[in-house]
């Protein structure tokens, strides 16, 4: 094996079929096929549509990544894949493909955690992660504060949303304002012409007795909807830019406040922000200001690497090979609720075996 492991990563946890190729911490290819337009008219990701799209896109996206990277499949040192968490049927397409490539090419397979991959992708932009690193992961599926000593083995959850993910709140507010799906980019754009102080929307879970590192965006979303409806009912025009800006301000205020506090409380001087919502311009700006003030170094990958992609999976796979972590076995399962603490899944599926022993062949 070369000093710098060459790893291909496959990501299919939601609606993006992502295939990335990484050598060490260098990104060689990041091919993505998205089914987002097929979901737009439903106002959210439809799992069966996503799974169908993954199946169709898989081999062409792999080939595109290999072509872009200019490498042969036989040159790879390993195949990494998102084993969870995510949509069960969607994950299964990626895991099955990864196993087939790993077996056919006789390469080690690494089933890795989607959330840890979101953190590890920053290595492609800013070099190896310091130990420890605080990570704020915000997307349509997750809002978590995670503390990592070693991204291949040790990710500890400090806090998470107790209801909606931050990205979900963006989607729902966009729907209330009639701005379409997905909501993140369009709310960000409209907010730029608005006044973030125009409306005082609530900051969830920021009271003295509230859990320090948990988030809640459900109340905020409802508050925005009530405010907008009241305006409409009164026959007044809804100031869309002001609503978008004030809502966005409330979300980013809570996220950055809690992330900086978590860093200070735990003596961590690096904050990494990842996930689709990390592409939000106001979040990046506010996080930078607050980190600068607190003497914390902020690491945020460029927007294209914050959303779901194969490069992040390849980045973590490459780190697994680099640190000589045990590969996964070929009976690796896709686990839609894989806990964040399970950074990778090297073990045999003992639960499955026990289940099989108990039920025999009687199905």
């Amino acid at each position: 094996m070369a000093d710098e492991p060459l790893v291909l990563g496959i990501e299919t946890s939601c609606d993006e079929t992502g295939v990335g190729i990484v050598r060490g911490t260098t990104l060689l290819a990041d091919a993505v096929a998205s089914s987002v337009n097929d979901h737009a008219r439903f106002g959210g990701v439809v799992p069966e549509i996503a799974s169908r799209a993954h199946l169709e896109a898989m081999v062409p996206t792999i080939q595109r990544a290999l072509d872009t990277a200019g490498v042969k499949a036989s040159d790879l040192d390993g195949i990494a894949v998102t084993a969870g968490p995510g949509l069960a049927g969607a994950l299964l397409v990626g895991v099955s493909a990864a196993k087939a490539y790993a077996w056919a090419l006789d390469k080690p397979l690494y089933g890795v955690n989607h959330l840890a991959s979101h953190i590890c992708v920053d290595q492609l932009e800013h070099g190896r992660l310091p130990s420890p690193t605080m990570a704020l992961l915000v997307s349509g599926g997750h809002s978590s504060l995670l503390l990592s000593e070693d991204i291949t083995t040790d990710v500890r959850p400090l806090g998470a949303t107790i209801d909606d993910a931050a990205g979900e709140a963006f989607d729902k507010v966009a729907r209330v304002l009639g701005l379409g799906f997905p909501g993140g980019p369009v709310v960000d754009r409209r907010a730029r012409e608005g006044d973030p102080k125009a409306i005082a929307f609530p900051r969830g879970l920021t009271g003295p007795k509230d859990p320090e590192y948990d988030f809640s965006f459900s109340g905020l979303k409802t508050a925005v909807a009530r405010w907008v409806e009241a305006k409409r009912r009164a026959g007044e025009e809804v100031p869309i830019a002001d609503v978008a800006a004030s809502f966005q301000e409330a979300v980013t205020d809570v996220l950055t406040r809690k992330a900086v506090k978590a860093c200070k409380d735990n003596g961590v001087d690096h904050l990494m922000i990842g996930g689709g919502v990390a592409a939000n311009s106001r979040l990046r700006e506010m996080a930078q200001q607050r980190c600068d003030r607190a003497g914390i170094r902020l690491r945020v990958p460029r927007p294209g690497l914050c959303t779901d992609n194969g490069a992040m999976v390849a980045a973590l796979g490459s780190e697994m090979v680099w640190r000589d972590r045990a590969p996964s076995s070929l009976d690796l399962s896709a686990d839609s609720s894989l806990p964040v603490t399970e950074v990778h899944v090297p073990h045999t599926d003992f639960h499955g075996q026990a289940y099989q022993a108990l039920t025999g062949q009687q199905q």
Binding site: R41, F42, G43, G44, V46, E48, I49, S51, R52, H54, L55, M58, V59, I62, Q63, A73, A88, G89, L92, V93, V95, S96, A97, K99, A100, Y101, W103, A104, L105, R175, V176, G178, T222, A225, R226, E229, A230, R233, L330, D331, L332, S333, A334, D349, G352, Q356, Q361, Q363
Partner: protein
Amino acid sequence: MLLLAFDTATPAVTAAVHDGTAVLAETDQVDARRHGELLIPAIDRVLREAGVDRHRLTDIAVGVGPGPYTGLRVGLVTAAALGHALGLPVHGVCTLDAIAHAARAEGLAGEAFTVATDARRKEVYWAAYDAEGRRTEGPSVDRPGELTPPARSVGAGALLYPDAFPGAHGPEHVSAGALAAFAAAELAAGRALLPNAPLYLRRPDAQVPAGYKAVLPA
């Protein structure tokens, strides 16, 4: 010819190696919830048993359904990836045709019959075959009660609904050995098989949300 065949469109996870004349090795496991875990280990096992190195394979045949989608996709994406990585052609076979082939080999030759598998939601995937084993109707998905009861029928879907399929008997699920034998015979006869694309037969379940729901009391 060294053909690797497998199918995940029924509760069975089944794989076989066929040399164009006979099945060299076959494995069958019935576990409707674990196609993803079981398939590659089954393929690995069957090649070892047959004493065939993966690089000596010449063709892949895969059951393209109809069948429950989640399991079905495991087989199809595996076939596509193996074909890509090993540089092999991938031939699709209607899973019901493979069951029909097995039924004739087990004694149904010379009679017309229907193959039905469980489509869940109180429906069956089915196809009808004539006395020569040619598919005359289907594959389709329907409620068993809506079909004209056939004189002879096979498959787990037929066994599940005895009122609609009187006198149904085995084979219950598809076997990769039969699928391989069917594919080898079709290829030898110069007939094209199907592309490696799923026979879903149903549109994806997707409800358009009924507009934006108000949160203020009406």
